[in-house]
Amino acid sequence: MIRLECVSKRYPGGSEALSELNLTIEKGEMVFLTGHSGAGKSTLLKLLALIERPTRGQVIVNGQNTAKVSRRRIPAYRRKIGMAFQDHKLLLDRTVFDNVALPLVIAGMGRRETARRVRAAIDQVGLLSKEKLLPMALSTGEQQRVGIARAVVTKPDLLIADEPTGNLDPDLSLEIMNLFYRFNEVGVTLLIASHDIELIRRMGRRRIVLHEGRLQADSEAGGQLHGTI
């Protein structure tokens, strides 16, 4: 699903955020990406979302070399990837329903089909009774769930999440993780950046540790971390 071949990213005037990173994530995997702040987690996700381009190396997503996706084709590319963010990035002046519907409206889907899919996605995150509320009327955990509903409403094959539990207490974090778990069970590939080590360990899935832009450790599902620590 995701293959990085010798990927380096250097920001102008800065140090290398990623250096010669090799990584493969298979279809249907659920992978946690961890490491200190500045280890390159966000940069990796930005490369996958085509917000940034690698300085060297190749990023292949879903069999497609991202270097060949022109600027004009980026929107179509992004529509096939679900994204969730630490600050959930909801539009505060629109209802829960409208926020979740946004990707489908952008894709030009018909009104009836949109409504059906949006309700299904909101139902999956357990917020069907709150679809008419504005985000500010929701708790932080609920806002994050709305963000996730928006990420999955297009039924993407790949879901990437940047610190989705960063602002949540342990109980709410577990709730969100269980939500991701359920999406993984129906075949969605997930890549979740987080530094909640305790939670990640409990999830028992593959962990990738980045350190100063390099792969420091990589574990099989539920297994020990292997690598030079």
Partner: protein
């Protein structure tokens, strides 16, 4: 996902796609209207500025058109004053007038005798008392010759004037159109100035709309970034702003038409009073339907273009972050 499929997974025909396209545009239009409605004061200000900017060249254009229409009326009353040599008698003048009257190309010949001319001058000039001192009349007899409309339209008037000059008793043929020509030259200059002013004001409208849309875009930066993150194309994000600009332009166009008509209405009374004093039934021209349409079209086009420039410039720079 193949291009021919819609997100539903089923194929849709070209009519269905067209319908969807039109529906989305309609949604955008209504959305833009709603947006303007939610900020009535700001929208009204922008529309007013555009309307005033557009009404200025339209008003000037109308002024020039009125001038042309007015001078067109004068041109049809083209006539020559044919001054006879001093010493040519009044009866000779009358005979000459009768001869000329029979010529083709001449509509009418009137004799103004030296005595009549002096009397007119005495009353009209205010030099009455000074003229009393003259022992004899220094003025010649004059024939006022009006060429026929046929000769005028065939462009034979210059030739006719030349023939008049060659007559033995004629001293001087004066065309009373020289000042009409000067007036036309002035009008042409004014017309060019109006065209230049229109170009400058059009640029102004572009900048006004562009700046308004730019502020609008910056205010909605967060929304735009989120839309980009979930896969909105530049065209999708640009569309509501284009509709905003279009509506600003159309609103400005309508306001400009209303302003010009209002000014015309307010000037109607005084103009017809002045015309009445000159014995004319001249009526002030107002905007013709096609001119009003052109003004509206110009407003719409400028609004659209201004927002397109602003949107294209600023949306490119707004790449999302997380």
């Amino acid at each position: 996902m193949a291009r021919s499929k819609n997100p539903r997974g089923g194929k849709i025909g070209i009519p269905g796609r067209m319908l969807g396209y039109l529906l989305r545009h309609l949604q955008n239009l209504l959305g833009a209207l709603g947006g303007l409605w939610r900020q009535p004061l700001a929208s009204l200000m922008t529309v007013s500025v555009i309307g005033i900017a557009l009404s200025m060249p339209a008003g000037l254009h109308l002024m020039v058109e009125n001038g042309r229409a007015l001078s067109g009326g004068w041109e049809s009353t083209l006539e020559w004053s044919v001054y006879l040599r001093p010493g040519v008698s009044e009866s000779r003048a009358q005979t000459l007038a009768n001869e000329l009257q029979r010529r083709p190309g001449i509509e009418k010949v009137t004799v103004i005798t030296a005595d009549q001319a002096l009397e007119e001058f005495r009353i009209g000039s205010g030099f009455g008392e000074a003229l009393e001192l003259l022992t004899d009349n220094p003025l010649p007899n004059v024939l006022v010759v009006q060429p026929s409309a046929d000769a005028e339209s065939a462009g034979q008037t210059t030739q006719l004037a030349d023939e008049l000059k060659k007559l033995g008793d004629v001293d001087l043929v004066q065309l009373d159109t020289a000042w009409v020509n000067r007036f036309h030259a002035i009008l042409d200059t004014v017309r060019r100035a109006v065209a230049l002013a229109s170009a400058v004001l059009a640029l102004g409208v572009l900048l006004i709309v562009g700046n308004t849309i730019r502020l609008d875009i910056l205010n909605r930066r967060q929304e735009i970034e989120v839309a980009k993150l979930v896969g909105a194309s530049d065209a999708f994000i640009r569309r509501p702003f284009l509709y905003h600009g279009l509506l600003y332009g159309i609103g400005g166009g309508i306001l400009a038409i209303a302003l010009v008509q209002l000014i015309g209405f307010l000037l109607k009374e005084p103009v017809s009073r002045v015309a009445g004093l000159y014995g004319s039934d001249y009526r002030l021209l107002s905007l013709a339907l096609d001119e009003a349409g052109l003004l509206l079209l110009a407003g719409a086009a400028l609004g659209w273009l201004g927002s397109w420039i602003a949107a294209s410039r600023h949306l490119r720079d707004m790449d999302p972050e997380f």
